[in-house]
């Protein structure tokens, strides 16, 4: 059976299409409401710093529990089984620790900056701010470059739309257009309102879908079948034959820290919180969200694996035995699974909520990267005091430009690894250096601007963790053996670059101290 025929075996009906088409209009309405409240950059970027704990948790979860998160997590559950759970557990534990101690986030909130590069500027000077802004915005926009592709795979898989039809591209353009519309209008206020609605719908939809998956497959049967199909590798992340291994687990520990304390959209929530106490409470409470946003989709991915392995046509599509047949992209596993187990009506609600999640992820990232470019690259380069109205206008224009860029990247970039691993390493281009600079700048008096620049540049070496770059350099240019290439796993490159950035920060600061100290640790 052709994969396109398999895709059409979904429970998606006309009723579900109506639900899916009406829901995004709610976000548009919120954008229109919010635009009346925007007067300055404080309103546009951090909603006037008036976000309290519960709303902060909703927006944090609304942004981070996106369709892309669900897709890449489900893919990890599909390929790694329950062993993938370690990633979620680590993320939750680290977030709780960050909330308890206020590590990085409380110190940043205390400084009343709008963005991370702004902190670089106050601590290390203008040049560090501009360089940090370029790396952050560039790495961040690249990191979100494949979101649209993941979103399109989800919609194709769950609705049964033909992948090769023009309808899919139109759907993606319309969704992107809606996000751009309400983000440009209302900034963070729109984002907060849309995230809240999306949180409510997605949370209850997610719990319902999980219940249905357990009922249809059987709680005990799920684990029994995983033992039969994957053995210990499906449960123990340290197992040599698992998809992970000890180095990967260490890499995930670091990513747990990054996801909550270094990634700009999480930090933006901290900066938008009413006080340091609210920040800490927010992160401690949101630790459950950080865990569940990974663990539940991993569970779904594992269930998808079990269902697919039990159906010959699907098993052959995803794990072909015939010679020369290419396997279907494992990103399709989740939408195919959900399309088959969810009843009509609920499938529309879940799809609408997932599309809303997709939109809310985009709105936060558009706002984040555009404000970094405005405040941390253009403004310092322009070297003049900008009025607030102009800054808002430029930020709005940049949001539109970024939308175009990611549309182009999403369909052109050759993805050669699991989407989660691509995002981890593309994010590392920014966060490797950022970790060293933030920790050094916040907690070490002797951290200097030279050390900061060195750390930021060292962090860019993470690009060699990308499958396509690694292949081009090691296989294409240097003609390395497969054994040598295997040494440069994503996790090994990631951990090495972080260590290198820290070393660069320390050595650069000790050898080239600043002549005049700028606002050391608070």
């Amino acid at each position: 059976m052709e994969f396109s025929e398999i895709l059409q075996q979904t429970n998606f009906t006309t009723v579900d299409w109506v639900i899916v088409l009406v829901y995004p209009l709610i976000s548009v309405a919120l954008g229109l409401i919010a635009s009346r409240y925007v007067a300055d950059m404080d309103d546009f970027v951090v909603a006037g710093r008036g976000i309290r704990t519960a709303l902060g948790v909703a927006t944090l979860t609304g942004t981070e529990l996106g369709l892309v998160t669900v897709m890449y997590s489900a893919q990890k559950g599909f390929t790694g089984g329950f062993a993938a759970f370690h990633i979620g557990v680590v993320a939750g534990v680290v977030s709780f620790f960050v909330g308890l101690t206020g590590f990085i986030i409380a110190a940043l909130r205390r400084r009343e900056v709008l963005t991370i590069p702004e902190f670089y500027g106050t601590r290390f000077g203008r040049k560090t701010r501009i360089l940090g802004g370029i790396i952050l915005a560039g790495g961040g926009i690249f990191n979100m470059g494949l979101f649209l592709r993941a979103g399109s795979i989800f919609i194709v898989g769950i609705t049964g739309l033909p992948a090769e039809s023009g309808a899919l591209t139109v759907v993606m353009i319309v969704l992107l257009g809606l996000v751009l519309f309400y983000t440009v209008l209302g900034g963070m206020i729109s984002v907060v309102l849309a995230d809240y609605v999306q949180f409510v719908v997605l949370s209850f939809g997610l719990l319902a879908a999980t219940g249905i998956a357990v009922i249809k497959l059987g709680w005990g049967n799920i684990f029994t079948r995983m033992i039969e199909l994957k053995g210990a590798a499906g449960f123990n992340p340290f197992e040599a034959e698992s998809a992970f291994g000890p180095e990967y687990v260490v890499w995930m520990m670091f990513l747990g820290l990054v996801v909550c304390a270094l990634w700009p959209t999480s930090v933006a929530r901290a900066l938008a919180a009413k006080s340091e106490t609210v920040v800490r409470h927010q992160f401690m409470l949101a630790s459950a969200s950080y865990a569940i946003r990974f663990i539940v989709p991993y569970f779904w991915g594992a269930c998808a694996f079990i269902m697919i392995m039990g159906l010959p046509a699907l098993k052959e599509a995803f794990f072909p035995t015939a010679e020369g047949v290419e396997a279907v992209d494992s990103l399709y596993a989740l939408p195919v699974f959900m399309g088959r187990i969810l009843p009509a009506g609920l499938i529309g609600i879940i799809t609408a909520a997932m599309i809303a999640a997709f939109m809310s992820t985009h709105d936060s990232y558009f706002l984040c990267w555009s404000s970094v470019i405005t405040n941390d690259i253009i403004a310092p380069l322009a070297g003049k005091e900008w009025d607030q109205r102009s800054r808002v206008m430029v930020t709005r224009g940049l949001i539109l430009l970024i939308g175009v860029v990611i549309f182009l990247v999403s369909f052109a970039f050759p993805l050669q690894q699991d989407l989660w691993d691509f995002m981890a390493i593309s994010g590392a281009i920014y966060f490797s250096g950022a970790f060293a600079v933030l920790v050094g700048g916040l907690y070490w008096r002797r951290a200097s601007s030279t050390g900061a620049v060195a750390a930021l540049l060292a962090g860019c070496l993470a690009v060699f963790g990308l499958g396509v770059v690694r292949d081009a350099v090691l296989r294409g240019l240097l003609r390395c053996s497969e054994k040598t290439i295997a040494l440069f796993s994503t996790e090994r490159v990631g951990i090495s670059v972080i260590l290198l950035s820290v070393i660069a920060m320390v050595v650069g600061s000790l050898l080239f101290p600043d002549k005049q100290r700028n606002e050391g640790p608070a």
Partner: protein, 55 residues
């Protein structure tokens, strides 16, 4: 392996349970927070206008 099977079952049930409770709390309290946030922004703007402040 039995350890890992039990661990992940417990972890899954615990996180779903905690999340369910949190979802209910955030839904209710979040609606109140939105009302407060909008009121704060309105108040700040009015104070700014009264003080004659610009951008």
């Amino acid at each position: 392996m039995a350890f890992w099977v039990v661990l992940w079952k417990v972890v899954f049930l615990a996180t779903v349970g905690i999340y369910g409770v949190m979802a209910v709390w955030v839904t209710i309290q979040g609606a109140r927070d939105i009302k407060s946030m909008m009121a704060d922004i309105r108040q700040r703007h009015e104070a700014g206008k009264a003080a004659g402040g610009g951008d």
